[in-house]
């Protein structure tokens, strides 16, 4: 008998007899918690922005046709000239007087030397101020939004849901795509419980919220 069957056999012995069948036992789990928030989209957006501010993320607002201009303004404010972008970032998000380098398999070293990265996202969760990436061609592979010290992320209002359960439901439809959830810039409180912004992930997170 190998380790696997021995372990499974041991587990079955330890469990002993089971009362009901698995499906109906699972269905009997009481889920009395809230699935959604009793608020409308404008309130949802407001809550999301509030949460982002809590995390010290900076939020900029613009209409759909103003994305490139807002990117330009944010980058000027940050004194940045060149950003990495995922392979299929919409061209009309990129203002002309800045350099944008498409990630077509850049080395980690190259990504590490960059000034930052500009991406979109999959969804966002208002209650926790969370941005969710599924690492599609418009969001880039995982390394792209991890190694740089600066992340500028474009979020559309219609991508925002209220609660974690609503967000998880959408994420469950992402198939085998890897998922990263980001709630503010990386942080630690490991030394004397003092919250320090930025350890290994991007130390600065800017969000452009598109109406």
């Amino acid at each position: 008998m190998n380790e696997r069957s021995e372990m499974l056999e041991g587990i079955r012995r330890a469990i002993g007899s089971r009362g009901s069948d698995r499906e109906s036992d699972y269905a009997s789990i009481r889920r009395g918690y809230h699935q959604a928030l009793p608020i409308d989209l404008p309130e949802c957006v407001h809550l999301f922005v509030d949460r982002l501010h809590d995390y010290d993320a900076t939020v900029h607002f613009c209409p759909v046709e103003g994305i490139a201009a807002t990117v330009a303004a944010v980058l000027s404010g940050r004194r940045k000239h060149s950003l990495l972008v995922p392979p299929q970032l919409p061209p009309d998000w990129m203002p002309s007087n800045f350099e944008f380098i498409r990630d077509t398999g850049l080395s980690y070293g190259h990504i590490d030397r960059s000034e930052g990265v500009l991406t979109g996202c999959a969804i966002a969760i208002a209650a926790t101020g969370t941005i969710v990436l599924r690492h599609s061609a418009g969001e880039g592979r995982r390394a792209l939004t991890l190694i740089p010290d600066y992340h500028l992320c474009v979020v559309f209002e219609h991508q925002i849901v209220g609660t974690v359960p609503e967000g998880i439901r959408l994420m469950s439809e992402f198939g085998r795509a890897p998922i990263t959830t980001i709630s503010g810039p990386s942080a630690t409180a490991d030394i004397e419980m003092t919250r320090i912004k930025g350890v290994h992930g991007p130390r600065t997170l800017d969000v452009i919220l598109v109406a």
Binding site: L8, D25, R31, Y33, S172, S183, M193, I196
Partner: protein, 477 residues
């Protein structure tokens, strides 16, 4: 079988370790301050949720359901993970898990690995096994790095270096990172860790991680973290090895909606931790192209077999019970002799390894119930502590004086006449030790009891005596 929990089997008993630690005022101050900060933060964000109790209940029921069908869910996870390109290994104990990991590393001729916080790897003594094989493990969680470079032990489940203050961390970093100078502000220390580890993240080809959740339905693994070291480890190297205790499996992806609300709030007092990574097998062109999962038993099946304490395996390692525990807050984590400290450690360690190696742990509690109250999956820790105490006593492993005392007490309490006689005798016997209505010292083998507490003397009249007297006076009227 070589079931072990780090080197907890050789650790001194809790009272002995605790007595030594109570003398360390710096450590006690650090622990008290840190636990207070997390408790306050937790209380604030938990108070925000009007459905907190429902979330706790759902978490508890999901875990209980999973354990009831654990064999099914493990096989389902294996199948889904394998279909997505992962390789699943089964390890009955610590040695088997270490051997599996070493053989994967051996095939790659790896000399170094980066690690993201995994207490399970501490449990199996992985770092020792790696070092013995000439492989250097780099801990990448800031607190774990402080513990590793300081040649220290973790003292908290979530914040392992909570017993160190900034000056101590600065000294460790200066010495071990070979820096010429370093400030003592948390920012300076964090920046030093960032610079020290970045080169390793970008270079080292193999990572070892733990898992907070393994989803049976999809074969996905979820790692919950704050610093970004978890993301670095699970998405940059070519090879990823994830060590998973068998109790970490959950049935469906949607079950994350409960735990991703309760875990961050309970662990660090945040609505959501900065980063969660969820991945499924291998993704061509993104992240590790070789992915191994090691499913570890190491005593868990034994815990599963005891229906009275099975729910110990519900634990999602949030550490809330440590911060709430009046005993932990005095002693810190080292007294528990295991990486699993505090109330959860007091019930988990003795059950994973054999009870005789940690028989004092079930007594490391005042049974005040604060741990149960904050537990996000409603583990009834006080009840399990009592259950384990009963087991210690039944096995004859309790301290001699206590065992004799308890047996004598049982004999006396069984018989009303015997009890009345014992009360009378005690009243006479206690007289020499009574001062100002309090007993401060008892002789001989009873001295252990009064070493830490004062006793109220047995009253002049017992309830039964009072009752009989009252009845007879009534009869007189």
């Amino acid at each position: 079988m070589s079931i072990r929990v780090g080197d907890a089997a050789e650790a001194p008993s809790f009272p002995r370790a605790a007595r030594a630690l109570l003398g360390n005022t710096q450590l006690r101050q650090n622990v008290r301050r840190a636990t207070e900060v997390i408790r306050n933060r937790r209380a604030r964000v938990v108070g925000e949720l009007s459905d907190w109790e429902q979330l706790r209940q759902a978490g508890h029921e999901i875990k209980q359901h999973t354990l009831q069908y654990l064999d099914f869910y493990l096989e389902q996870f294996e199948e889904a993970c394998t279909r997505a390109g992962g390789q699943v290994h089964w390890a009955r104990d610590a040695d088997e898990a270490n051997a599996i990991i070493l053989s994967i590393l051996g095939a790659r001729q790896a000399r170094e690995v980066i690690k993201v916080k995994t207490m399970t790897s501490d449990e199996i003594g992985l770092n020792h096994a790696l070092e013995a094989a000439g492989i250097t493990p780099y801990e990448t969680d800031l607190a774990d790095l402080i513990v590793q470079l300081g040649d220290d032990r973790p003292s908290h489940i979530v914040v392992p270096a909570l017993h160190r203050n900034r000056m101590e961390v600065r000294d460790i970093f200066l010495r071990k990172m070979h820096l010429r100078e370093l400030g003592d502000k948390p920012e300076d220390l964090t920046n030093a860790a960032r610079a020290y580890l970045r080169e390793k993240f970008l270079r080292v080809g193999v990572a070892i991680s733990g898992a907070n959740f393994a989803v049976a339905e999809t074969g996905s693994v979820c790692v919950v973290e704050s610093e970004g070291n978890g993301r670095m480890c699970v998405s940059l190297p070519e090879v990823l090895i994830t060590l998973v205790g068998i109790e970490k499996v959950i049935p469906r992806f949607e079950d994350l909606e409960v735990f991703l609300q309760t875990l961050p709030r309970s662990a660090t007092g945040e609505r959501m931790n900065p980063y969660n990574s969820i991945w499924t097998g291998i993704v061509p062109g993104d992240g590790p192209q070789e992915f191994h999962v090691v499913l570890l038993d190491n005593g868990r099946t034994k815990v599963l077999a005891d229906t009275e304490s099975r729910e110990t395996l519900d634990c999602i390692r949030c550490g809330a019970c440590l911060n709430a525990c009046p005993v932990y807050r005095q002693t810190g984590g080292h007294a528990y002799g295991s990486m699993y400290s505090g109330p959860i450690g007091a019930i988990l360690t003795p059950q994973l390894q054999s009870l005789e190696h940690s028989e004092s742990l079930p007594y490391a509690s005042s049974l005040c119930g604060a741990c149960y109250e904050v537990c996000p999956v409603k583990i009834n820790i006080p009840e399990i502590l009592l259950h384990l105490r009963a087991k210690v006593t039944a096995a004859g492993d309790a301290p001699f004086e206590e065992r004799v005392g308890m047996e004598a007490a049982a004999f006396v309490f069984e018989d009303p006449d015997m009890l009345a006689l014992a009360q009378k005798l005690s009243r006479i016997a206690q007289k020499p030790f009574e001062r100002d209505g309090v007993i401060r010292h008892l002789p001989g083998m009873l001295s252990g009891w009064t070493a830490f507490r004062d006793l109220t003397p047995i009253p002049k009249q017992s309830f039964r005596e009072w009752w009989n007297e009252r009845e007879s006076q009534r009869g007189d009227q």
